[in-house]
């Protein structure tokens, strides 16, 4: 049996065409390396995760006792809106983008993504969108809810914050759609020789499904946002009830995106769990093909369930029934996966690392959220608990108990591949217990609050409602979660400096990313690995005759050069958006806003977009 030390190491100089990397801040601004882009997504996501958590802590403090006066109702609405927007678009999605960037090329044995500069463009669009969204705090944050229902977002009811919100989301949509196209091409065209579609790791499969979801579900909400922007800036009548506009139009466009988006948030964690459980159970994933097809099926059906968010909107019994049935059907592939994961652990030789602890806790926590989801899929029940804390409990079990817990597992598992060092297991266990206990303490009682009639989105409640004690419990739980997150951040920072060196393959894993150094060289692999099974590295180490062999001829490696061009195009796009925002400002206190400054910037930036794109294409890569 070969051990990891016997991995073929190229001693002979490889014929590189790796361009000299610039150093310092320039190397980050011009990078097209998927691993560096992954780190930037990861750092930004962590920052926004903390920001979104802070927003939640403030309004949890307000809710801890009845008739509290810590913040006003308007501030409360703004914090809730920004908490959800931040967590969905700026924390969980970029964490998934970070994992996609790091893992898709490494796990399929590629040197980079199909379009490295487009990848950098996606990153800058994300950074720009998140900054525009958070800049709204300076001028009055949006307070219409993260789903921005019409006509609440109209000029009559909302201020300039919604302009920042809508334009920021358009930028984030651009980022996600371009990344989606890029990764789809990467997975289909850049797989190492021998890596057939059914040998592609489950993690990559789940990430691929979400890229399809991103590419195809963002356009409807982009249309909805464009209509909203036209309504707010140019006086169209799409969401104006007085002109015959129908508020349900926005709901359809939003949820046609919004529900696939839910699977964008959860499928990466399902992928993580499908990688972590087998490695720490010393068993292959039970029914791998079934898990893959279940993920694809969830993605497809995810496009046909959006109106279950709108049962109280009055669509009629036929539509309600159809969407109810489609929603319940999704429980089948999800259940299949849960049993496959249980089958994987069954009889395994389990090592309870922190990654494994998070992965195993994912299963029951996500199942709790999934079961209340099946309950909510029934229109009669949904009509009763709609907009109550029962719904809040449901989606927080899915998104925190599911998505976040799964991503934590992935964080502990792949942190060595990012940094070359292991995270502290001792601190990790403290983080685990604090976070999981805090999570259940916060969200489990909210099922009861909902059934007792506590509605969502109220900034306070009277003492005789009898919700005081349970709300205090929820707030204490939130503080425990925050303490756990603090331990996580400390662990991440301290481990980057002082953590134990990981080596190539600290977990004795089976997928290709552990074949190469931690962190990998810019070109990922010294030679293109030839894949002979769905567990190439495991077979290399443990199955005679299945070693990954080094080719006799060194390969010529061509890596793309660092480039400023993605940043220039992004700046032109951002200039256009900022110009549009400026038309809403009134610098001199006149009756009308000073639109011409904004229009001037828009025209200049609009002209710069094709110019910068031309320079981009012209640049040799």
């Amino acid at each position: 049996m070969a051990s990891i030390a016997d991995l073929p190491q190229s001693e002979a100089p490889i014929q590189h065409m790796v361009r000299p990397a610039k150093v310092g801040i320039t190397s980050w601004l011009t990078t097209v390396d998927h691993k560096k882009i992954a780190i930037m997504y990861g750092v930004a996501a962590t920052f926004y995760f903390l920001l979104g958590g802070l927003e939640a802590l403030i309004f949890r403090a307000q809710l801890s006792v009845s008739n509290a006066g810590l913040i006003s109702g308007e501030t409360y609405n703004a914090l809730v809106t920004m908490h959800a927007t931040t967590m969905v678009f700026m924390a969980v999605m970029p964490m998934a983008a970070s994992l996609s960037n790091l893992l898709i090329p490494l796990m399929i044995g590629a040197r980079d993504v199909a379009f490295p500069r487009l990848n950098a463009f996606s990153l800058w669009m994300f950074i720009a969108g998140s900054l525009v969204l958070n800049a709204s705090f300076l001028f009055g944050a949006p307070s219409a809810g993260w789903f921005g229902y019409a006509p609440l977002t109209g000029n009559d009811y909302s201020g300039i914050g919604v302009d920042f919100w809508a334009l920021g989301l358009v930028l984030l949509a651009t980022s996600s759609m371009s990344a989606g196209v890029n990764f789809v091409v990467t997975v289909f065209n850049l797989r190492a020789p021998g890596m057939t579609l059914m040998r592609v790791p489950v993690m990559v499969w789940m990430l691929t499904v979400i890229q399809f979801l991103l590419a195809f579900s963002f356009p409807p909400v982009a249309v909805g946002l464009i209509l909203l922007i036209f309504d707010r800036f140019f006086g169209t009548t799409f969401y104006l009830v007085s002109m015959g506009g129908d508020p349900q139009l926005w709901q359809h466009l939003f949820w046609l995106f919004g529900h696939p988006e839910v699977y964008v948030l959860i499928l990466p964690s399902m992928g993580v769990v499908s990688e972590v459980l087998p490695v720490f159970s010393r068993k292959p994933l039970f029914g791998q093909t079934f898990v893959i097809f279940s993920g694809i099926f969830i993605g497809f059906v995810g496009f046909g369930v959006w109106a279950h968010h709108m049962f109280t909107g009055g669509m009629g019994p036929l539509a309600d029934s159809a969407f109810s049935i489609a929603t319940m059907i999704i429980a089948i592939p999800t259940g299949v996966k849960i049993f496959n994961w249980l089958g994987t652990i069954w009889g395994g030789k389990i090592r309870f690392t922190v990654a494994m602890m998070f992965a195993t806790s994912f299963i029951p926590l996500f199942t709790i959220g999934g079961l209340s989801g099946v309950m909510l899929a029934s229109p009669p029940l949904d009509l009763q608990v709609h907009d109550s804390y029962f719904v809040v409990a449901h989606f927080h079990y899915v998104l925190v108990g599911g998505a976040i817990i799964g991503l934590f597992s992935g964080m502990y598992y792949w942190y060595p591949k990012f940094t070359g060092r292991l995270m502290s297991e001792r601190l990790g266990k403290i983080h685990f217990w604090l976070f999981v206990i805090g999570l259940n303490l916060t969200f489990f009682p909210q099922h009861f609050l909902g059934n007792w009639g506590m509605p969502r989105r109220i900034y306070t409640y009277p003492p005789d409602a009898g919700w005081d004690a349970v709300n205090m419990l929820c707030t204490i739980g939130a503080l425990i979660m925050a303490a756990g997150t603090g331990v996580l951040i400390y662990n991440m920072v301290i481990s980057a400096v002082r953590g134990e060196k990981a080596g190539r393959d600290p977990w004795d894993a089976s997928t290709l990313e552990w074949l190469t150094a931690s962190p990998p060289a810019p070109h990922n692999f010294d030679f293109t690995p030839v894949v002979l099974s769905e567990r190439p590295l495991w077979d290399h180490k443990h199955t005679p005759g299945m070693q990954i062999e080094e080719p006799t001829q060194p390969e010529v490696i061509h890596m793309p050069a660092p480039s400023w061009k993605p940043l220039w195009v992004s700046l032109a796009v951002v200039g256009f958006v900022l110009g549009l925002l400026l038309t809403r400002f009134n610098f001199y206190g006149d009756a009308n806003p000073d639109v011409w400054v904004g229009y001037g910037i828009m025209i200049f930036s609009g002209l710069m977009i094709p110019v910068t794109i031309y320079r981009w294409i012209d640049e040799p890569c």
Binding site: A110, R111, D112, V113, A114, F115, P116, R117, L118, G180, V181, N182, V184, V185, F188, N189, L190, R191, A192, P193, G194, M195, T196, A215, F216, S217, F218, P219, P220, A222, V223, I226, L227, F230, F234, T236, T237, F238, M243, G244, G245, D246, L249, L253, L256, T528, V530, V531, L532, S533, P551, H558, M559, P560, I613, Y614, W616, I617, D618, C621
Partner: protein, 214 residues
Amino acid sequence: MADAALPHDHHDAHGHDDHGHGHLVENNFLGLPNLKLAMWAFLGSECMFFGSLIAVYFFYHGLSIDGPLPADVFSVTVTSISTFVLLASSFTMAMAVDNMKTGKVQAAKLFLLSTAFLGLIFVGFQVYEFQHFWLDKGLALQTSLFASSFYVMTGTHGTHVTVGIIWLLMVWSFIHRGKIKAGNYLPVEVAGLYWHFVDIVWIIIFTFVYLLEF
């Protein structure tokens, strides 16, 4: 790694020898170059985009409270001419790709310019149509649900045609400067995919939005 629009050597990671494991190493190349596959994925995304816009138009069809109705403003004759011009541009686009394939670079360049020119005429018709509806027929952007959804839908399409014109001119420029050489027809073909897509979207809009009113 091929990137952006000029893949002189689009990624060919599929010709490796199989290290003696031939039975385990199957060819996994799907047959489309990166750029073309990306274009198809992007067009799938665009289908959802235009699908949503057209759906919005029909969601509000007949629900306008005020202002002129579609049948009051549309002129099938005028729009038929502009539609014919756009259809003709798809022909010249196909000829550009074909000439590039067979190495007739000069003819390809000419056809690219003709396509861009026909596209420009189409956009000109649309500008005329918009100002005519607005100034002569009293259909401003803010007048009614019909006005808002019609202008935003067709305006978005017109923006796509404009982007296509700029794109074609860029491709022309790269051929002119020798950056795209004879035989490398992929960039022209991919621009053509986009152009034909935008044309097809217009055929759908013309049929369902204009013709079905009469």
